[in-house]
Subunit: 203 residues, 2 copies
């Protein structure tokens, strides 16, 4: 088994954090995304969408999509559960993973890709007006999240989950996307600091 | 238990199709999305993101996000499995559900919301340039999907799954978004016709 990895990019990072939290070690194949290496060669042969991460199993089976790769390892190594337990617990983790991904991670990524000069060759054409609209979208969601985090430790409840991994990578991604976390969102800041302090954040 | 439902909108429809495939009946609370009824009242009280569908359990617990609601029912009623079976099977369904959602369903929705005159009050402000960019994005993915479907019956393999439900709703949504499925994509057209012919498509 090997994992084609994209270094600092937030999706490959989500998988590395997930594996670190599970205590699973998978051989990494580094891909230089800055040199657009994932747009051809080994990655393009394995993923027609030409994106990372890509997991290759020993029999050659290919798995792509961050959350699908994480779910594969969740099924093989149940402890600690990072996708929730029980019907309702699993549904709540899925709900918060999606809320964080669709309303924070993605708007931040859109702002970065459609505005940052370094993304000109990645996102063709860039639509700066679309990038700008996504900044307030991300902040509107953070306000909702801040209210939710007043009464619990983690995004989906009292246990750390894949939803927190998505949240950590999204908030860290706000820096290159040039969106500041407002000082007034104290619960979000406390939560983000706690996630950043976990050893897995360095994975 | 009750399901706040949004009629013709594609996300509420995904849940209704899922329930029909499972043979589960849930009382529906109709919400008039055309009159923006989901932006206030009962929906806004239950979902701070003010979107549908919303599932309310008997104890008042709220579940939102289409796929999270579907997963809740999958855990309670395993047959027929619509999220796959076994670690690899579940991961492959997740992969294809996400590929279809992120690369087809969402681009089609963006084209619709940012271009269609009826969406002016929904998507403020509309960015037509962003809507237009999403049309070729959707078609690029359909071309990849057409190659994949040459060798199998359904999106994620030989069994119908949640990935097909997302695909059906996305392709049907192309009509109001004014994106035609090219005649040359014969495998996609065969697959779409087969999904449309299932009784659940009318749910």
């Amino acid at each position: 088994m090997k994992l084609y990895d994209g270094g600092r990019a937030p999706n490959p990072r989500r998988v590395r954090i997930f594996l670190a939290e599970k205590g699973i070690s998978v051989p990494l194949v580094p891909v230089d995304m800055a040199a657009l290496e994932h747009k051809g060669g080994a990655v393009a042969e394995r993923n027609p969408l030409r994106r990372l991460p890509v997991l290759e199993l020993d029999d050659g089976t290919i798995l792509t999509e961050t959350i699908a790769i994480c779910r594969y390892f969740e099924e093989l190594h149940r402890a600690p559960p990072l996708f929730g337990t029980g019907a309702l617990g699993k549904a709540l983790v899925e709900m918060w993973q999606r809320r964080l991904e669709l309303n924070l991670f993605m708007p931040v990524a859109q702002a970065f890709r459609h505005i940052h000069p370094a993304m000109k060759e990645w996102e063709v054409p860039q639509v700066p007006a679309w990038g700008e609209i996504n900044k307030p979208k991300a902040l509107e969601f953070l306000e909702i999240l801040d209210r939710e985090l007043a009464s619990r430790q983690f995004a989906a409840g009292d246990a750390f989950s894949i939803a927190d991994i998505t949240g950590l990578c999204a908030v860290d991604f706000m820096k290159p996307a040039r969106i500041a976390v407002p000082e007034t969102f104290g619960n979000v800041r406390r939560w983000h600091q706690a996630l950043k302090a976990r050893p897995s954040a360095e994975a």
